[in-house]
């Protein structure tokens, strides 16, 4: 069974999406049960894969079939420590967002089918070892999200949807050019050929810029982040959970899989610029987040500053003397992986918790909330836990990644590490001011007094995400054991120079 495991994991999403679309005429209860059952089936598949995965340098569950002979593209799937964690993250987040989507009263089938289709495409992208196949999954994950924001969003959804689509498309189109260039040059599209492909420095620089354009827009790195706040404020709760937790990680995964190993010399060349950009993302966006009056927009800016940490972790390994590079680079990259996973859970949790508030109160601006601690104690408890993880409080998931990235950036330069660590203070400022305005103080309007606390389904969603946030915070080896070897291999690849070889 295990040799077709990856295809079945991808197909699960597609089948689930088709079935949900088919069952749209049935009663609401059947739709909900079916959606949740599909989500759990997917999760069990992922957990089975996680248990069958033995940590080693090589890729596991590899499937390699001829796809387009004229171009040399193959249907080549494989999973290593990094993509395993991201796939498991995807299935957990999809479960949470399905549970969140099922709390709606109206027809949930099209929403659930879009969620499952996005999950299938994201999982496909994480498992693809063939660059063209990766691009196919990467682009098709754009479609359902565009429809999700456009159809189920709130007031300015059309503008946000088109903006999201155009931003991501303009980045990924250059990625397609770079892939085809290397593919035609090498005759094959698989990762191993691309990582060994000898390239001159100029070629590497051009390819690096093309890759960076695609992943920087998707990740949202600093100058290209304008689409994320709009997309998050307009997307429905489960949509922004998916977007924040999974689709942003595609950008980070892309940096780790393409920029570092395939164009190492160009990465070395551009590393100072990327570090400066990510530091700006951390500090500047931290300032901007403080001024937001719309809660989801604030959480979106928080995600941008967290993703700034990811790019910092990726490129800081190039900034220090060669002898230390592999040891510290490894810490940096493992910090990046843990930070992506933990940000996935904590930002999904934050969106989920605020989604429940939004469902009850119906407004996103902070002025309409106040003193909810008395009315919704359980929900405020969970919201506070996710804020703590967002701040990077030790014991929750947010701390581990930041800690390792700051260690890695300490090797580069003390001031870089200080600016990186300043995210602790900046995120604390805007998060706690948000919590104070929403939960502390007097109840703003008597309409808030009539709110009911979380019901069983919401409680289950919040519990799942809270368990995961604390699990990674207290025992990060859960994420690190499978990924250690592949991260070591990645550090080796990204630190050896290609120019001398050609």
């Amino acid at each position: 069974m295990s040799e077709y495991l990856l295809t079945s994991v991808i197909l699960h999403g597609v089948i689930a999406s088709a079935v949900m679309q088919g069952v749209s005429r049935r009663a609401l209860i059947i739709q909900k049960i079916l959606a949740i059952v599909f989500a759990f089936v997917g999760l069990s598949l992922a957990m089975y894969m996680w248990s069958r995965f033995e940590p080693s340098m090589a890729f596991q569950f590899v499937e390699n079939v001829e796809w387009i002979p004229s171009l040399g593209a193959r249907y080549h799937l494989g999973i290593d420590g990094i993509s395993l964690n991201l796939v498991v993250l995807t299935f957990w987040i999809v479960l949470a967002s399905i549970l969140m989507a099922c709390t709606e009263s109206a027809g949930i089938t099209s929403a659930c089918s879009l969620i499952f289709f996005t999950q299938a495409m994201a999982v496909g992208a994480f498992c693809a070892m063939d660059t063209l196949l990766f691009y196919l999954f990467w682009e098709s994950s754009l479609l359902p999200m565009y429809l999700f924001i456009g159809v189920f969003g709130s007031s300015a959804r059309r503008y946000a949807a088109i903006k999201y689509f155009l931003f991501t498309l303009s980045g990924s189109v250059f990625f397609l050019l770079a892939t085809l260039y290397m593919g035609v040059l090498a005759g094959d599209f698989s990762f191993s050929t691309f990582t060994q492909l000898p390239l001159s420095l100029l070629e590497q620089q051009v390819l690096f810029i093309a890759f960076t354009l695609a992943f920087a827009i998707k990740l949202p790195m600093f100058p290209f982040h304008d689409w994320l706040p709009d997309a998050h404020t307009q997307a429905p709760t489960s949509g922004s959970m998916l977007l924040a937790a999974i689709l942003l990680k595609l950008g980070g995964y892309g940096f780790m899989r393409y920029n570092l190993p395939m164009t190492p010399d160009a990465s070395l060349f551009y590393a100072p610029w990327m570090v400066i950009l990510s530091l700006i993302a951390i500090v500047f966006v931290g300032f901007v987040a403080f001024q937001q009056t719309d809660v989801k927009r604030l959480i979106a800016y928080a995600s941008i500053s967290h993703m700034g940490m990811v790019t910092l972790g990726c490129f800081v390994l190039y900034l220090q003397p060669d002898n230390v590079m592999t040891r510290i680079g490894f810490t940096g990259l493992s910090g990046v992986l843990i930070h992506m996973i933990s940000h996935g859970f904590s930002s999904a949790g934050l969106f989920c918790a605020f989604g429940m508030l939004y469902r009850r109160v119906g407004s996103r601006s902070i002025q309409d909330y106040g003193g909810l601690m008395r009315v919704l104690p359980v929900l405020s408890g969970f919201f506070f836990l996710y804020t703590m993880s967002n701040i990077g409080f030790p014991g929750t998931a947010g701390f581990v990644g930041e800690f390792f990235i700051v260690i890695a950036s300490m090797s580069a330069n003390f001031w870089v590490a200080m600016l990186a660590a300043s995210t602790m203070l900046l995120s604390a400022i805007y998060s706690l001011v948000l919590v104070k305005r929403i939960f502390y103080g007097k109840v703003v309007s008597n309409q808030l007094l009539t709110l009911f606390d979380v019901d069983f389904q919401e409680h289950l969603t919040l519990l799942i995400l809270a368990f995961l946030v604390l699990l990674i915070g207290l025992s990060p080896w859960v994420v690190m054991d499978p990924a250690e070897h592949s991260l070591r291999a990645l550090t080796m690849l990204s630190t050896h120079s290609k120019v001398r070889m050609s």
Binding site: L71, L132, L136, V151, A161
Partner: protein, 490 residues
């Protein structure tokens, strides 16, 4: 010997027979409109079967007018299948727009016959006859909605423009004939070397003069074909014709003729010929890039569907031209495949848009598309899928053919052109996405007066579902199609 030649031309002759029977049918009995559609379908099918049979006949034939290689068979097969595909849409269009049945079907049959002639023509004479035979019915078809002033204006413009381009083509051919002295198109590349040595057949021309005449002739032919394809410097008629004609007519007009013109282009401009015309690749390249950018940029500003599709059509033709410019086998294959993909998609888009404006729903401007997904779910999904395929989004057919085209460009290491293609797609993405947005994100405006979810006929829905399935299937594994096409255009 005679029997083989006759069998070779069986498909065309069957079509001619069909036209005659159709015209005389009114005299014997008063058939209902479905009879005409069935008759037309029978004619097409028999022609297709005849084509299959003639494929197995011995290829050596003393014919000088026509060539029977794999590419011409494939082209003729495509033309006939597009004809069959257009019948159900024509049938409902006739009932809705009160177009005269017999004349419409006859014109379509004549047009298909013209296409078959052009596709298999080997000499200039048969080529020009075929082209005229293809385009004249289109002028007539365009003018069928006589009472509508815009369609009259469009028909007039189309006729005059068609006359101009045919004149240009004939003028160019005369130059070529003067220098080469042979009628066969394939003879062009064979004789061109000898031109430089012995001068032309006309004794009084020196070697240099014959070279100049040859290049001018080649350029005139290029200009004529660019005009018919609707490339930028010659694109003015496209918007008025698309705006004037009804959706069905525009569908027929825009889909198959482009494939025919591309196959003619491939037949004429072989690398040998082209090397003899100085700066030809520079001119074609600049024309292609201009048309790509102008097409996409102008399409942004349109608010009527058909003019938007018109401008995007010469955006796409710009891509195809760029693939043709590199003159490599994969380039030609990519161009033909992209044209087929584009032709099929634009045909279905225009035909299904025709379905929407059936009855009380005029669907001319983009605002009319609002909330379509609520009223016509299958139709709107088909439209959305084809827009995404035109844009080049991965799970669909357009993406694979665009990647194939870009790979061909990279093989000829034309990185600059690939960048231009990609940037143009980016500019063009906006209006495709806006149309999908209009259909899915808005709810039905009050004044549209949509009664109830009107299913647009059982046949059309099945056709559309099959169409979506093909787009997805070919989009996901195009290996079979690409392999077949590389064999054909080798």
């Amino acid at each position: 010997m005679m029997l083989d030649d006759v069998l070779m031309l069986l498909p065309e002759s069957l079509l001619a027979l069909g036209i005659v029977v159709l015209l005389l049918s009114k005299t014997f009995y008063r058939p209902r409109t479905t009879h005409y559609a069935l008759l037309c379908a029978v004619v097409y099918l028999s022609a297709l079967i005849a084509l299959m049979l003639s494929n197995r006949l011995p290829a050596e034939s003393k014919q000088i007018l026509f060539t029977f290689d794999a590419f011409s068979y494939f082209g003729r097969g495509c033309a006939l299948s597009m004809g069959i595909l257009s019948i159900p849409f024509l049938h409902s269009a006739i009932r809705r727009d009160r177009m005269p049945e017999i004349e419409t079907y006859c014109l379509c049959l004549i047009q298909s016959m013209g296409m078959l002639f052009t596709l298999m023509s080997a000499t200039w004479i048969s080529l020009i006859v075929g082209l005229e035979c293809m385009y004249l019915p289109l002028y007539a078809l365009l003018a069928t909605r006589a009472e509508d002033r815009t369609s009259q204006e469009a028909a007039c413009k189309y006729i005059i423009m068609g006359a101009f381009s045919s004149g240009l083509l004939l003028y160019g051919v005369s130059f070529l004939y003067a220098t080469v002295g042979r009628f066969e198109i394939s003879a062009l590349s064979g004789i061109v070397q000898s031109l430089t040595v012995s001068g032309s057949s006309l004794s009084w021309l020196t070697a240099y003069q014959s070279h100049v005449m040859f290049s001018i002739g080649g350029l005139l032919v290029t200009a004529a074909l660019c005009f018919k394809l609707g490339i930028v410097p010659f694109h003015f008629w496209v918007r008025d014709v698309y705006e004037g004609g009804s959706y069905t007519v525009v569908g027929i007009l825009s889909a198959t003729p482009k494939l025919v013109l591309i196959s003619v282009w491939l037949r004429i401009f072989t690398p040998a010929v082209v090397s003899y015309i100085p700066q030809w690749s520079f001119i074609t390249l600049s024309v292609g890039i201009l048309s790509m950018f102008f097409g996409n940029v102008l399409a942004l500003a349109q608010d009527r569907i058909r003019s938007l599709l018109a401008y995007s059509s010469f955006g796409h033709m710009g891509f195809v031209l760029l693939a043709l410019v590199i003159l490599s086998a994969p380039g030609n294959q990519a161009a033909v495949v992209y044209t087929i993909g584009y032709g099929l998609t634009i045909f279905i888009v225009l035909m299904s848009l025709g379905r929407i404006s059936m009855g009380s729903l005029p669907c001319h401007s983009l605002e009319d598309l609002k909330g379509l997904s609520a009223v016509r779910p299958v139709l709107s999904v088909a439209l959305a899928v084809s827009f995404l395929s035109l844009l080049g989004m991965p799970p669909f057919l357009g993406f694979m053919f665009k990647v194939n085209l870009l790979a061909a460009l990279f093989q000829a290491n034309q990185v600059g052109i690939a960048l231009a293609v990609v940037v143009a797609t980016l500019i063009g993405a906006f209006y495709y996405i806006r149309m999908i947005g209009l259909m899915f994100f808005y709810d039905v405006p009050k004044n549209r007066g949509y009664p109830v979810v009107v299913q647009s006929g059982y046949v059309i829905d099945c056709l559309l579902v099959v169409y979506i399935a093909t787009l997805l299937y070919v989009g996901l594994n195009p290996a079979v199609v690409l392999q077949l096409m590389s064999v054909i255009t080798a």
